[in-house]
Symmetry: C2
Subunit: 505 residues, 2 copies
């Protein structure tokens, strides 16, 4: 059937066209069924239908602008609409739900259909849950990873040793890439780091880097800058690297699940697609992180190494302490400040420096630069080359040189003080993130939390525990309320209890 186009500028992750109820009935279609829309006589895309009343007349079809942008469809032009059957990949997903195993071809079909929007949210949810409940073996994960790489953009470098690092996340304040990338690049390795923005955290590496410079780089720019200065820190979402991943994350987010097969494939696909040959995977472990105990961390590490072997990627995993935030700052500008301040002063929070230089050091050892990577990294850092290289990268991405103390931090400030004397026995990752997000992070770059006292530190009555920064009064007020409810820093007297509790007489 022929339809007249009406454009709607709604951005959505779902490919949707809007149709009149009569037309849908005529074509025998229910809400959510798929159609192929053919335009300019030859080009086409597949979308799900949504039924409209009143807004869309008979013979009209509403097309959302995201699709329109890609397809160059124009208002009032004529398109042909043909119902299309459910894709075969739905059957494969059902087979897996029923306990079967994917073949290589099946998993490629599924990933292709995810990327081309042929699978809807309900079907992608079933795909993710089938992995969550039925698991995948290494063959299936390998095929899924390769399919994810091949359905997206791929970076290749003509010369040089390409390395990368990845943190699986779950620990706040993890701004280590800002130190690792320039340290590694300063030693002559290539590190084209693509990073994510915060989904549920207070600041993703891309959000933090954006305090300094542009992170929305095209894949060609990532290549060009990496070849020029040795490293880059870009937002992966601006590229088309492993695009299936974003759509998978979109259904994982509401359920707060991250099945191991998807986690492995997501990380390895991104590293494979940028042409890395040596990769360190940071697995933060501990209470309140994604991996609560070391045993689980080791299992995951083994899986990453095996996947690396299959993908011809040299992988080392670092189990790191994730039971409290890394460094003391949480939130885009505060984390940017903490990272730059450390580079300027060549000292800083032990958890930040040891972790960053330790991971850079592993990369140096893997690539044969040295047998004592940590010392080598520390030497580069202490020499000022890390800072120098960082500024080169910032400038290459379009930013300007800046000093740490020039970074604007939110001017609405509130300090939470201790009512007790004692030692800090816990800093609650989730509470810290909640406070920082309520204060406005990551959208308000200057919002966040600075932690004055971390685990094991001694506290007196009236000492500052955390400072909350915000850009807006109402957000600060809400964040204070959250902080008072959540107990982000737990102080305990050195004597926890006394036995016997009666006094001697």
């Amino acid at each position: 059937m022929k339809f007249k186009v009406r454009m709607f500028p709604i951005k959505t992750d779902r490919y949707i066209v809007i149709m009149n109820q009569d037309d849908a009935d005529e074509l025998g279609l229910l809400e959510g069924d798929r159609v192929r829309v053919i335009y300019n006589s030859r080009k086409s895309f597949v979308a799900s239908i949504q039924i409209a009343m009143g807004m869309i007349g008979k013979g009209e079809i509403g097309i959302t602008s995201c699709i329109g942008d890609v397809c160059e469809i124009i208002e009032s032009s004529e398109v042909e609409v043909i119902p299309v059957a459910k894709p075969k990949s739905v059957e494969y997903i059902k087979k897996k739900l029923d306990g079967g195993k994917y073949t290589k071809d099946e998993i490629y079909s599924i990933i292709k259909d995810i990327v081309s929007n042929a699978l809807n949210e309900i079907e992608i949810t079933a795909f993710v849950l089938s992995s969550y409940l039925r698991g995948m073996d290494f063959d299936e994960i390998e095929w899924m990873t390769k399919a994810m790489i091949e359905t997206g953009e791929i970076l290749t470098f003509d010369r040089g040793i390409v390395v990368d690092k990845h943190s699986i996340g779950g620990v706040p304040g993890n701004k280590i890439s800002l130190l690792i990338v320039p340290t590694v690049a300063a030693a002559g390795l290539l590190i084209p780091k693509t990073a994510s923005r915060a989904i549920t955290s207070a600041s993703g590496t891309a959000d933090t880097m954006e305090v300094f410079t542009n992170v929305n780089l095209h894949i060609d720019e990532i290549k060009e800058i990496t070849e020029k200065v040795g490293g880059v820190i870009a937002w992966g979402g601006a590229t088309e690297i492993a695009p299936a991943d974003d759509k998978i994350i979109h259904v994982e987010y509401p359920l707060a699940i991250d099945p191991k097969p998807q986690l492995l494939a997501s990380v390895m696909a991104k590293k494979g697609a940028i042409g890395a040959k040596y990769v360190v995977i940071d697995i933060p472990t501990g209470e309140g992180s994604k991996v609560p105990d070391v045993k689980m961390g080791r299992e995951l590490a083994n899986d990453f190494v095996e996947m690396g072997r299959r993908l011809n990627l040299n992988v080392t995993c670092a189990l790191t302490y994730g039971g409290q935030p890394v460094g003391r700052a949480v939130g885009p500008a505060l984390e940017a400040w903490e990272a730059l301040k450390a580079m300027e002063e060549r000292r800083g929070s032990a958890s930040l420096l040891e972790k960053s230089l330790g991971i850079a050091g592993i990369l140096f050892e893997m690539t044969g630069k040295t047998s004592d990577g940590y010392a080598y990294a520390k030497e580069i850092f202490n020499s000022g080359k890390t800072l120098e290289k960082f500024m080169e990268i910032v400038e290459a991405q379009g930013g300007e040189k800046i000093k740490a103390d020039e970074i604007p931090i939110g001017d609405k400030v509130y300090k939470i003080k201790s009512n007790f004397e004692g030692a800090v026995v816990g800093v609650d990752n989730k509470a810290i993130v909640k406070i920082a997000r309520t204060a406005g992070a990551p959208k308000d770059k200057g919002a966040g939390v600075y932690i004055h006292k971390k685990k094991g530190e001694i506290v007196k009555v009236g000492d500052d525990l955390i400072t909350i920064y915000a850009e807006k009064d109402w957000k600060l007020d809400n964040a204070i309320e959250v902080a008072q409810r959540e107990q982000p820093v737990l102080v305990s007297g050195m004597i926890l209890e006394k036995y016997p509790s009666y006094r001697y007489v």
Copy 2:
């Protein structure tokens, strides 16, 4: 934050409000996150956000008319928007995915959140898949059923014995309710039958009944007509009986799954909500139906009886033959014609009459009317009281008296003839439905398939196997193509193979 309303008349099963990217960032919301929209100072609803570009300005909020109709929100009015946390029920669903068991309170929360749109499609999919993969015990199913009843409209009758029947579906041409309801009502029982429209079939009972009369009845009308004439055949979707069911079906449909706990709860909730005390459940069994073998049918029957016991509902299950269509007609008008013709002539296809009168008979035995229900039902049918009562029901619902041969059938006709001599060894349910739907059913009421030869009947070369009816030439052409590809009626020579295959010399 305050927003100015802009109305969009998009009908959707999802509660969505459309927001500018900046405003979403300001509130810390991602696409799909939930907000509470407060209007007229006090009323409110929860919806997911969709991000718009261009169409919606800063400070504006787009509201779809479905929500608007319910809420009486008007264009340009001011509403307050507050982010709301993910509902607790998402955690309960995760617990179940991880192998746990629901408590009563948990399952009530989930069903309430489904009805109030607090759970999105991804989360409802996870709920349905958790049942599919983890199952539920009888306690959980009982709670789910009761929650589904209590979150919707409930019918109560002051006098009379309320009975009902339900077919779990999967067999085409199953127009038996059109005979059962008037037969049962003619005997003085009350039977307020709510029926569904076709989702994947060629005609639901509601579609077939709509050939005669209005089926979009409000729950008060169902009660009034049932009290007046003893029975009704209404579309359940026009009521708010067990409204959670529709939203569950919405996510089951793309995956073509129907987990047993949901099936049991869906049927029992609808029967419980209309106040039935005696219920017959028709379980069509056989190749190409929902229940392929008798063993599975018996298990399901046991489950229904147990659920009946828990809900204080007297349940009898009838395992019926579902390996080929019931009667000979498939499609709304054709089925209406076949049912009415049988009532007029007091004879008809054995599979239709035996099944209909058999099930009516079970209800007569359950309610103590007689010890030979089938004979009792046949007597009513043969006396002409079934036809008389049927016309009373049609008129009470707003239709007019009609003769079977006055029912308009599609005038585009094509006959598929046999190329072989032999016996029919199979009639393919799925192929018959596909042909009927391609011909235009259920939207084009006159479209469908008439089956001339069913299993065991003898066929000569050139005999009609099926006739395809359509209202439009292009749909007839497509249906013919499907029919030629699918082999809906399989004819085999009486001698299937010959051993030895060489000729004697």
